[in-house]
């Protein structure tokens, strides 16, 4: 069993590091991990779940606001949702999502419709990609625990 645990821990470590290296996560995610302890062992997963729910809601708001069939596009409304998404992505360390929101916000301010639509598509892809990656990461954690091991602290350097 020890060999299995060690292997899983290695996998977990490598996977986590890759998420940072590929820019999916930034140091705010590390900050969130600091807030997790035996009393709140699922804190990070819980916050990220809320974040992804937020993504769904906000992206749907943006899509609706960018829908030309209902009339003229209200860029400030789009911008308001982008601002919110930017905030929450920043708070959880969702680096790529946040970076997209920065560009998205600029397109809103410039009232650039095509730019906004492109960003909307990208942000949708990006949050889903992150969600999949994190699910894999949380699964590895679970496997480690089920195998009787502890989830290692990962030093990102």
């Amino acid at each position: 069993m020890d060999a299995l645990i060690a292997q899983l821990q290695r996998q977990f470590r490598d996977y986590t590091i890759s998420l940072y290296q590929q820019g999916f996560l930034d140091d705010q995610f590390t900050e969130l991990k600091k807030l997790q302890d035996d009393g709140s062992p699922d804190f990070v997963a819980e916050v990220l779940t809320l974040f992804f729910e937020d993504c769904v809601k906000l992206i749907s708001n943006m899509a609706r606001a960018l829908d030309k069939t209902t009339g003229a596009v209200d860029f400030s409304q789009v911008g308001a949702s982008v601002h919110q998404l930017k905030g929450s992505s920043s708070s959880v360390g969702a680096k790529r999502v946040k970076a997209l929101c920065v560009s998205f916000k600029e397109y809103c301010e410039a009232k650039n419709y095509e730019g906004c639509v492109r960003c909307l598509q990208q942000v949708d892809i990006e949050y889903k990609a992150l969600k999949t990656k994190l699910q894999d990461m949380f699964n590895l954690e679970k496997q480690i625990i089920q195998a009787g091991g502890i989830v290692p602290q990962v030093d990102i350097n």
């Binding site: 916050v47 937020d54 308001a80 959880v92």
Partner: protein, 259 residues
């Protein structure tokens, strides 16, 4: 967690009854029990700030708007707030950008109230806009934190709250005589952040305030630190640099060279 944005009240009377169970004196609550009112329209941010505060041993009431905050404090109507004078709030921490009432407007209302004007108010914002920071500090905000808020930020706030302002321990930034010890009396830095791809070295101040410069209030003077980066525009991406070595980050920078 206050997921529905509702208010989880923690009034003094309730706290006292809890304390009374163990035969503890009925006098003031445990002074270590800091009660914080957190205000943020973002659910994710509310959860995070709540956790940050709880982990630093604060009791937290989290609400989702300035109006709810005023309601909680009993400031939302004209009736006498006698029943609220036993409400113990040690710190109010609020987001700046909120629909309806901004954190700035909430700050003003709190400072206008006789019951709560002494309560320190901390503003959080995702944007490092100097004029915004100035305005808040001038209106009496105790501190201005840049989002995303980190554990080190909250620990620092917390360390100020448990110290009696009468003790000149150098931690209370409002004491003029402690100005020189602001940096040295900081809590020890948290474990070094090991990932900081965007880490920028601590900058010395070279800010150009676009506004005129009114005289500095004591809070402003002691907010200066050579460690924070006074970028004036909305470019907050560079600000996710490691903060552990600059616990007084994001405070308003005013006069270069003021140490």
């Amino acid at each position: 967690m206050a997921r529905d944005g509702g208010v989880s009240c923690l009034r003094r009377s309730e706290m006292m009854s809890v304390g009374g169970i163990g035969g503890i004196e009925s006098a003031p609550l445990d002074l270590d029990e800091v009660h914080v009112l957190a205000v943020d329209d973002s659910l994710v941010d509310r959860i995070v700030i709540e956790r940050l505060l709880r982990i630093t041993s604060c009791k937290v009431t989290a609400v989702d708007s300035g109006w709810r905050a005023l309601e909680f404090l009993g400031l939302d109507n004209e009736k006498a707030s006698a029943e609220f004078d036993r409400l113990k709030v040690d710190l109010i921490i609020t987001d700046y950008c909120m629909p309806g009432m901004t954190g700035y407007e909430l700050l003003k209302k709190i400072k206008e109230s006789s019951n709560f004007r002494e309560v320190p108010v901390v503003i959080m914002s995702s944007e490092n806009v100097l004029t915004r920071i100035d305005r808040c500090l001038e209106e009496g905000a105790q501190d201005f934190l840049l989002k995303p808020v980190k554990l080190a930020d909250v620990k620092r706030l917390r360390s100020h709250l448990t110290k009696d302002v009468k003790l000149s321990n150098g931690n209370k930034r409002k004491l003029p005589e402690d100005s020189s010890s602001v940096n040295s009396s900081l809590p020890p830095p948290s474990p070094p952040l090991t990932i900081s791809p965007e880490s920028s070295p601590p900058l010395t101040v070279s800010t150009e305030s676009s506004d005129s410069s009114p005289p500095l209030s004591p809070v402003e003077i002691f907010s200066t630190s050579p460690l924070s980066s006074p970028i004036d525009d909305e470019d907050d991406d560079v600000l996710t640099s490691s903060s552990e070595e600059s616990p007084i980050r994001r405070q308003k920078m005013r006069s270069p060279g003021l140490d």
